[in-house]
C-alpha cells in the first residue's frame, strides 16, 4: 500500500508532506514467526515461517495457513526480518534462498527489508533513496516484532496492510537517503517498518 491505495511501483509519484513527491522502485520485506492468537486464548504458530513479501510480485502477497484452526481471532503477531539463528545456520531454501536479492554475501546476513525509490528531497545527484535494512548481532538487531489486534467478526481471510507511506513518514530523506549496512542508522529505519502495518478491511484484495 501507499496510504489508502495499492502501491504502484515506478509509475507513480506520491505526494508526501516531508519528502515531496516520492516514487517507489522496491518495497520488499521478510515476514516471519507468524503467530495467531484466538479469542479462546489458544494460539497457532506457523512452522518454518518465512515469507518474502515483494510489492513487485503479486503472488508473494498472499499465503495460506493450511494447518491453522479457523476460529475467531484476537490478534496476529509476526516479525519483520529474519532471526539470528537463521542468519548463522548456513544455506536455506524457499523464500530464504540467498539469490533473492535479500542476502549480503560479503558480510553474512539477510536484508530484513528493502525500500528504494526517488524523491527530489534526496541530497544526491540521482535524487534516489535506498534502504537495505538488516543486522542480527547486538546491539544492532533490526528484527522488529509486530502485533496487530484483529477486529471482532473478521472472517477466515485476513488482510494485513503494509503501508510504505507510513514507513517513509518516519524518514527524512533530505538528511539521510541511504542506509545499506547494519548499525545505529539501520536501527532507526527499522523502527519505521515496525509501525507500517495495520489490519485491512475484509473486502480489500
Amino acid at each position: 500500500m501507499f496510504g489508502a491505495e495499492k502501491l504502484a511501483l515506478e509509475t507513480k509519484a506520491y505526494p508526501t508532506s516531508q519528502n515531496g513527491p516520492v516514487t517507489i522502485a522496491t518495497f520488499r520485506f521478510y515476514l516471519s514467526a507468524l503467530r495467531l492468537t484466538y479469542t479462546d486464548g489458544s494460539t497457532y504458530t506457523e512452522p518454518n515461517s518465512f515469507h518474502l513479501i515483494d510489492a513487485e510480485i503479486d503472488a508473494s502477497q498472499a499465503f495460506t495457513l493450511s494447518t491453522a484452526p479457523t476460529k475467531p481471532l484476537r490478534s496476529i503477531s509476526f516479525c519483520v526480518g529474519v532471526d539470528s539463528l537463521t542468519n548463522t545456520s548456513g544455506a536455506h531454501g524457499g523464500d530464504l534462498e540467498p539469490g533473492r536479492g535479500m542476502y549480503w554475501a560479503w558480510h553474512s546476513g539477510y536484508i530484513n527489508a528493502k525500500l528504494e525509490g526517488r524523491s527530489p528531497a534526496c541530497a544526491n545527484p540521482r535524487k534516489a533513496f535506498e534502504f537495505h535494512i538488516g543486522g542480527f548481532q547486538a546491539p544492532y538487531r533490526s528484527l522488529r516484532p509486530v502485533t496487530l489486534v484483529v477486529p471482532f467478526g473478521a472472517g477466515a481471510s485476513l488482510v494485513i496492510r503494509a503501508d510504505a507511506a507510513r514507513w517513509l513518514g518516519q524518514l527524512k530523506l533530505a538528511d539521510n537517503s541511504s542506509v545499506l549496512v547494519p548499525g545505529a542508522a539501520a536501527m532507526r529505519v527499522a523502527d519505521g517498518y515496525a509501525g507500517m502495518f495495520s489490519i485491512g478491511a475484509g473486502d480489500e484484495e
Binding site: 542468519n87 548463522t88 545456520s89 548456513g90 544455506a91 536455506h92 531454501g93 530464504l96 534462498e97 540467498p98 539469490g99 542476502y103 554475501a105 560479503w106 558480510h107 553474512s108 546476513g109 549496512v181 548499525g183
Partner: protein, 357 residues
Amino acid sequence: MKNSRIRFAGEEAVPPNTAFRLALLILAALSLAFTTFSDQPVLFARPAGWPKPSYDFSRNPQTAAGFRLGRMLFYDPALSRDGSISCASCHSPQSAFTHSDHRVSHGIEGRQGERNAPALVNLAWNTSFHWDGGVNNLEIQAVNPVTHPNEMDFTMDEMVDRLNASRAYRGRFFRAFADSAITGQRVLKALAQFTVSLQSYNAKYDKYLRHEAGGEMSEPELNGLRLFRQHCASCHQEPLFTNNTFANNGLLPDTLLRDRGRYRITAQPDDDYKFRVPTLRNIEFSAPYMHDGRFRYLRQTIQHYTSGTIVPSPTLAPQLRQPVTLSTAEQRDIMLFLFTLTDKEFLDDARFRYQPE
C-alpha cells in the same frame, strides 16, 4: 557394478596350483580397486584429540552422493557467468587448494581480486570465513565467489537455471537430495559436503605426535617445533595452526588497496588492519603468503617477524610489540618444522581431484 565385480573376484575360490590365474585375478582386482578408489567419497572424521568442529553437520548430513556432487560442482566452470572459472581455478589441489604463483587470483575476463586465495583445509573448525571473517557459515561462503564481479560474476538464480537445464545434474541432485529440483540451497549444501571433507591431519608432524611410522623428526625439525611453540603458537595454535581470530601482524598497509581487513566488517577501530590468522598446514605449497600475497617465499614470511620490519600501530598484535629475534639457523629450523606440516596423503588424494563424469 564395479563394486560387485570386486566382491565376485574376492569370493571366488582359488583353484589349487594355478598360480598364473591367481596372479591375473589379483591384478584384475588391483586395477579395479585403483579405478574405484578415486570414486570413493571422503566423509568427515574428527581426528583423535582434535577439538569439536564448529560446522553443524546435522543440518547437512554428508552422503556419498552429496560429496560427489559437491566435487563435480567444485570443478565445474559452469558456475561462472562466462563458463571460464571454477572453484578449483583459485583453489587447486596441487597447491593445497589455493592459487600458486598468484598474489591475488583472477576471475572471469582476467579481473583481479584484492586478496590472496586461502588454502581450503580443515574448514569444519573455522568459526568464520574470508580474511576479514565476514562470512559466518561454510555453506554460505560460496555465494561470494559466484556473485562477486571480480570472481565468477554470476547470479545465484542464473547459475541454478543453468544447472537445472542439465539432465546429468538433475540426476545427481536427485541422488544427493532425493529431489531433482536444483536450488541455490542445494548447490551450496553439496559444495559444503565436499569442501568440509578437505581434511589434512596426516603430515609428518601429526605422525610424530601419534608416534607413528613416518613421524620421525630430525633434530633441526624438533628444534623448529620448540621455537615455533615459543614464538608462533599463541596465534597459530596446534593442531589447526590457527586460533580462529584476527590479528594485525605489522605488515605495512598497501596504500593502493587500503584494505583495513576486519574493520570492514565490524567498523570497530580495534579491528583496524586485522586479518584472519591463517592455518599453516601445507604451507610449503600454499605460496604466496599473507592476505595480499605479498611474500613469495616462506623465508620472507619468517623474516617479516624477525628482522625488525614490523610496523607499529595501535592495533598491532601484543605478541609482536617486542621484537622476535631469531638467528639464521633458528629461522631455518622453524622453516624445516613448517615443512613437516606438509600432508602428502591429503595433497595427493585422488578422491579430491577432478573426476571425469
